[in-house]
């Protein structure tokens, strides 16, 4: 058996896809609900997509279950399990969101968005409660996962607004603010996880390896595109194109962060001894924690 930490194998790309889809979907529902107060047509345009994202995410979870036909048992432990809470939030989110679209009701959409936020927060807490994975259990994971979900939702709505007509300048302002929040959350998380003794060396290596891409493509590029489209005198076609690119780059940054954390940096705790034993002849020595 290995002594150094190794990458967990039980939650793979399917789990990453679930976190990506869940965050994007619930974030999109929030901003769709807000946009629907100005134009209820947004409920059909992107509300359905917001539900689909979460449903697809749940499908990814379902296909990785060892006993798929027992999936309903997931609701049995709301007292302590964030996975149960996530499942319960997903049900009311889908029901409320579906009704909001059918009835073209912005208040119902807002209710769905609130349930979606509960779902998103549960996702973050699922990772935080995973005591066996140092990259997940740090408190800084919670604001990071929430911030990425909200940013992706705003980014996707901005992309849709390019296609369907403007959702308003407010969305761009919100997206830029969220990009700032996500960057702060990512920086704080990275600083914490790469500090000596917080996570295995491999984890720090993997996370540091994507840092440049997260910064350049996921945060700096969207800012530059926003500046290009809204501060310089360019044609509407260029504005639309840069808006789409901005949306995609902001989405890419969040998806890259989550995929990396879940499917690439999830090294387990490994093993350690606090002291080496005093064998005869000999004395006890200092402990060991290989891979840290």
């Amino acid at each position: 058996m290995r002594v150094r930490p190794w990458h967990q194998t039980v939650w793979d790309w399917r789990a990453a896809a679930q976190f990506i889809c869940g965050g994007t979907g619930t974030g999109l529902m929030l901003f769709t609900a807000l946009a629907s107060y100005r134009d209820p047509a947004w409920l059909w345009r992107t509300g359905l997509l917001a539900l689909a994202f979460v449903a697809v995410g749940l499908f990814f979870v379902w296909i990785k279950l060892g006993r798929k036909l027992r999936a309903v048992y997931v609701i049995l432990n709301p007292r302590t399990s964030w996975m149960t809470r996530e499942a319960l939030f997903s049900v009311v989110y889908l029901v409320a969101g579906g009704l909001a679209i059918l009835l073209a009701s912005p208040p119902l959409a807002l209710a769905a968005a609130l349930f979606g936020l509960g779902y998103l927060y549960s996702q973050a807490r699922i990772l935080h409660a995973s005591r066996g994975i140092p990259a997940w259990r740090v408190p800084a994971i919670v604001p990071l996962i929430v911030a990425t979900g909200l940013t992706e939702g705003a980014a996707l709505l901005l992309g849709a607004s390019v296609l369907f007509g403007g959702a308003g300048l407010w969305l761009l302002v919100v997206l830029l603010a969220l990009l700032g929040a996500r960057w702060a959350a990512w920086s704080g998380y990275l600083k914490h996880v790469t500090a000596p003794g917080t996570a295995p060396l491999y984890t720090a290596e993997v996370l540091s390896g994507v840092h440049a891409r997260v910064l350049s493509l996921g945060h700096v590029l969207p800012l530059l595109l926003a500046a290009l489209a809204w501060l310089l005198p360019v044609s509407p076609a260029v504005v639309n194109f840069t808006g789409l690119l901005l949306s995609l780059s902001a989405l890419y940054g969040g998806w890259l962060i989550k995929f990396t954390i879940i499917a690439r940096a999830a090294y387990n705790q490994g093993f350690a001894i606090a002291r080496t034993p005093a064998r005869t002849p000999g004395t006890a020595g200092p402990g060991a924690k290989p891979g840290w």
């Binding site: 997931v74 996975m83 093993f271 005093a278 020595g285």
Partner: protein, 217 residues
């Protein structure tokens, strides 16, 4: 109350893996699944290098992270401290596996045998379809411990009701018993020796103690 724990004397363990084999034999775990394992941990730099053999497995924590995260309540804790899995409730989501800081849990989704697709006789006898697609781990040989209630024997003292890894240990490095009994074998060992628990800083309060030296008198 009763709190069953395991004690491993690191001074005595020689890394022979007899406990590992005994566990596999008794519990019929497939290849790649080691409810009891012994690590070979090298430490130091030449020429001051040491090797320590460290038995590991489910630590039956007092605050088991696996139990808190389990969405189905399949993972539970008995009053005597044993952490159990109800194979009929487990959905195989794997959340407990990533929540365990001791890498003690396993999940396999199809039968595995030592020699290809066909089980040898002992594997065929021990095959349990309930374990496919769910989380599994060391049970502290729970059925042996439960047998103690019927025949008045003491787990950790009488081999019939003691985990098989403890019975098999050629160096008497492994011990099992009731921590809440001040006169039990494990309580005496912990009183007389220096010990630690692995990853204690994570707060799970594992029920697996490692002895590393005698206590100074």
């Amino acid at each position: 109350m009763t709190r069953y724990v395991m004690v491993a004397d690191l001074r005595l363990c020689v890394g022979c893996q007899t406990c590992t084999i005994a566990c596999k034999h008794a519990n019929g775990t497939p290849p790649g699944v080691q409810w009891r394992a012994v690590l070979d941990l090298e430490n130091g730099k030449f020429p001051n290098v040491t090797r320590t053999f460290v038995p590991v497995g489910c630590q039956h924590c007092a605050k088991p992270p696996c139990m808190y995260v389990c969405p189905t309540t399949a993972t539970r804790q008995r009053p005597d401290g044993l952490v159990t899995i109800d194979y009929d409730l487990c959905i195989g989501c794997g959340y407990c596996i990533v929540a365990c800081p001791y890498q003690a849990r396993y999940k396999y989704t199809r039968p595995r045998y030592a020699y290809g697709d066909t089980p040898i006789e002992s594997e065929a006898v021990q095959f349990d379809p309930a374990r496919i697609g769910v989380a599994t781990k060391c049970t502290f040989c729970i059925e042996r411990i439960d047998a103690a209630q019927n025949n008045g024997l003491t787990p950790g003292i009488d081999p019939e009701v003691t985990p098989i890894c403890v019975n098999s240990c050629i160096a008497q490095a492994l011990h099992f018993g009731d921590l809440d009994d001040p006169d039990s074998n494990v309580s005496v060992l912990l009183r007389e020796n220096e010990s630690f628990r692995m990853h204690e800083e994570l707060g799970a309060e594992p029920g697996f103690y490692y002895l590393w030296d005698r206590k100074a008198v």
